[in-house]
């Protein structure tokens, strides 16, 4: 079992309910492949620093999870095939932070609000 975190940028054109559904399905995919979702952090819609697939806004989500290396391949593939995912990045971490920080809600930075 290894610790991972993944940042997923979803097209903000997606409506709120289907966005929820999308994130839920990602978590479901992890859970259904012997993974364990630790935490999901939603940063909300942010301005992208550059245009990605004609989108200027993206909904950022950070999912922390545990799982086997094979799980990473599975979710990486699913992100790649998903048109609504603008960008994704899966990184292995040494450990998850003990108290999941809220720093992103505090520091709005580059136009956190759409």
């Amino acid at each position: 079992m290894r610790f991972y975190e993944t940042v997923v940028v979803i097209d903000s054109k997606l409506e709120e309910p289907s966005l929820d559904e999308e994130i839920k399905s990602m978590e479901g995919l992890i859970a259904s492949n012997q993974g364990k979702v630790i935490d999901t952090e939603r940063w909300g819609s942010r301005k992208l620093s550059y245009e990605i697939n004609e989108a200027h806004q993206g909904v950022f989500t950070l999912i922390r999870f545990n799982g086997e290396p094979s799980l990473v391949d599975i979710i990486d593939r699913s992100f790649k095939l998903n048109d609504r995912v603008l960008r994704h990045m899966i990184k292995r971490v040494k450990k998850h932070p003990e108290n999941i920080s809220e720093k992103f809600e505090q520091s709005g930075d580059i136009g956190a609000q759409a």
């Binding site: 940028v9 620093s49 550059y50 990184k91 520091s107």
Partner: protein
Amino acid sequence: MNESKMAARPRKQKRIAGRIKNIDYKDPKQLRRFVTERGKIVPSRISGASARCQRRLAKAIKRARHIGLLPFIEETYK
């Protein structure tokens, strides 16, 4: 002549940054300090980051660029 020119240049502020804690690609606000207005990575000789921190910064900035938190290039200043 060249030398005198260099001597005339006022001394820049001394290194201050040194070790930087909690370098994280998910925190563009912090990383912004280490890129220029154009989005280039500031060399450690300017920012004063230690060699180890500079390596970590560079990696974090590149990751942040990939997920769209930082620009590769900033062409227009808004």
